[in-house]
Each structure stands twice: as structure tokens, then as C-alpha cells.
């Protein structure tokens, strides 16, 4: 049910030319994904998706629209055959790839036999906090989270360098460019 709603939203995003509506639909898409993560018992991921994807990312995209334009340009005449072929081949490869993916919740999955059992069994003794997700993120995988924080830090520096400060000087020199920043969290 949620997955079909996701597909409907994605199709609407492709069809629509009004970018304001597209941004709103992206927000709905994120909220649907968050609900999907809740169904899959991944509440921490759902939390992030709801707050980042449906929350601030929507505001940032609206800000981008305010700086640029809210109508999508009609693409000029080009042959859609080659892109269509590329998409079809990639899609077929992905669908073919899913046949090798183990079933959801299968206890025999490789992912349940790597480091996860150790985290789950020893976290209570070694770290002593109830939320294993937090103990994995902050302690066992502390390096990764430090890297992520640095990525966020770098993103801010990039945005500030591109469109932050010194706008009074720049405005007289050149017209504002349609900069677009995208962030993965």
C-alpha cells in the first residue's frame, strides 16, 4: 500500500511541470518513505527521513525556487530513444539483481551474521545504553559518524562560499546564478 503510494507520487513528480507542486510532492514522498521505515521497524531512520526529507529539505527547495523559477523548462526537441534504452537496461539490471537479494527478515541473511550479532549481544554490557542504534552510531561506528559530521560541516562551507555572505558586492557584479545544492544525509 505504502509502496504503491510512493510509485504514484513519483509518477506525479515526473509528469508535473509546476515545480512548487513537485517540491510539495517530494515532501509527501519523504513522509511516505518515513512511514515505510516505521513499518520496517527502523524508527531512527524514519525520524531522520521525516525531519530532514519532509522538513527542512522542503524548505530549502522552496528557497531555491524563490531564487530561480518555479516552472520547469520544456526540454527542446531531442530523441528520447537513447535515454529510454539506457533507463530500460539499467532498470532491467536492477530488477535482475533483486532476484539475488535475500528475503526481508530472513535470519539466514549475510547481514545478520557479520558484525550485527556482536553489537546486539555485547552492546548492553560494553556500552550500557538501551538504544543499540545510538551505541552503534556513536561508539562502534564512531569514525563513520565523525566522517558524516565532517560532511555536513563541509556542505555548510560549500553553501556559504557559493551563496552566503558578500552578496551585496556580488549582486552588482553578476546576476544571481541558479545554484542548486543537494545534500544527502
Amino acid at each position: 500500500m505504502l509502496l504503491s503510494l510512493l510509485v504514484v507520487t513519483a509518477l506525479a513528480v515526473i509528469r508535473l511541470r509546476d515545480l512548487f507542486a513537485v517540491v510539495m510532492l517530494f515532501g509527501i514522498y519523504s513522509l511516505l518513505s518515513a512511514s515505510l521505515f516505521v513499518v520496517l521497524d527502523a524508527v531512527d531512520v524514519a525520524f531522520t527521513e521525516a525531519s530532514v526529507g519532509a522538513g527542512v529539505a522542503t524548505v530549502f527547495m522552496l528557497g531555491t525556487l524563490a531564487l530561480t523559477t518555479s516552472r520547469e523548462k520544456i526540454p527542446g526537441a531531442h530523441k528520447p530513444l537513447l535515454p529510454l534504452l539506457a533507463v530500460l537496461v539499467t532498470g532491467a539490471a536492477l530488477i535482475y539483481g533483486t532476484s539475488d537479494i535475500p528475503h526481508y527478515g530472513d535470519p539466514g541473511d549475510p547481514i545478520h551474521h557479520h558484525v550485527a550479532p556482536r553489537y546486539l549481544e555485547d552492546s548492553a554490557e560494553e556500552i550500557g545504553i538501551p538504544n543499540v542504534v545510538s551505541s552503534v552510531l556513536a561508539s562502534y561506528r564512531g569514525y563513520d559518524t565523525l566522517g558524516e559530521t565532517t560532511v555536513v560541516f563541509t556542505a555548510a562551507i560549500g553553501v556559504l562560499l557559493l551563496i552566503g555572505g558578500a552578496r551585496r558586492r556580488r549582486r552588482s557584479e553578476e546576476p544571481p546564478r541558479p545554484d542548486r545544492e543537494e545534500e544527502d544525509a
Binding site: V59, E125, I127, T145, L146, T149, V152, L160, I163
Partner: protein, 139 residues
């Protein structure tokens, strides 16, 4: 936006709750879902809401850009600093167990709390900075 009294009033009612919820998510991340990243985003969302309703200048007065710039780097510094502190106390980088000389589990608690705080500070400052940059550019 002086004429829209309903959004202004609702914002006034909601803002403390949003910020309080952010702090709850920040410091309750050890026990329930959430953590520094989500808390930072929620905290920033509160300020974004305030800036949308009350205007960018008022928001800048409360949370000046220089403070945000400090926050952006301070969070990463706290995180890396905890790692270096672990090294100075004789452990590995980001090994929180040595932070408490009596009980490694307490050290882990302290380390995770500080690290999540660093993440939260950086994420909140980054999100508000980016919003300021976008909103300030349009004028």
C-alpha cells in the same frame, strides 16, 4: 508578515515545544529513537519556522550568523576533541571507555553524550546557516 496574526500566534505557541522536543531527542537518544542529527534538524526547523513567520532580520537578531559559524565548527571540534581526549587518556581515538577511570561503561555514556552533542550543534548550525544563505540571497 505583520497582518497574519494566526500563524504568528501558533508559531509562538509551537516554538518552545519544538525546541524542547529537539532537546529531548538530543539527550534521550540513548534510550529512544533519535540522536544528535535528528535533534539538530528539529532545532533548526524551529528557527526556520520562526524566520519564516517573523522575518529573517528578527531571526538573525536571535541567532546571529557569527554564532552559527562558531557552532558549525564547534560541533566537529567537540566530536574530534572527545576522540583526542581518549587518546590522551591512553586509549585509541574515539575510544570512550577510558574517559571514566573507574567504569568503562560510564566512559561510554559520557563519550556518546558529548559526541551526540557535537553532532547536534554542527547539524543545527549548518541547517540554519544554509537557510539564512538561501533566504538572504533572495532579497
Amino acid at each position: 508578515m505583520k497582518q497574519y496574526s494566526v500563524p504568528r500566534l501558533i508559531t509562538k505557541l509551537l516554538l518552545p515545544l519544538i525546541l524542547l522536543f529537539a532537546l529531548y531527542v538530543q539527550f534521550h537518544g540513548d534510550f529512544g529513537p533519535g540522536g544528535g542529527f535528528q535533534a539538530g534538524v528539529i532545532f533548526a526547523a524551529g528557527f526556520v519556522l520562526y524566520a519564516l513567520v517573523y522575518g529573517l532580520d528578527n531571526a538573525r537578531r536571535i541567532m546571529p550568523p557569527w554564532l552559527l559559524r562558531v557552532g558549525v565548527s564547534l560541533g566537529v571540534l567537540i566530536y574530534a576533541g572527545v576522540g583526542v581526549a581518549g587518546m590522551l587518556l591512553g586509549g585509541a581515538f574515539l575510544d570512550y571507555g577510558v574517559l571514566d577511570s573507574h567504569d568503562p561503561v560510564h566512559g561510554q555514556h559520557l563519550g556518546i553524550l558529548l559526541v551526540e552533542l557535537g553532532v547536534g550543534i554542527t547539524v543545527a548550525s549548518v541547517m540554519i546557516s544554509i537557510f539564512y544563505a538561501f533566504a538572504g540571497r533572495g532579497r
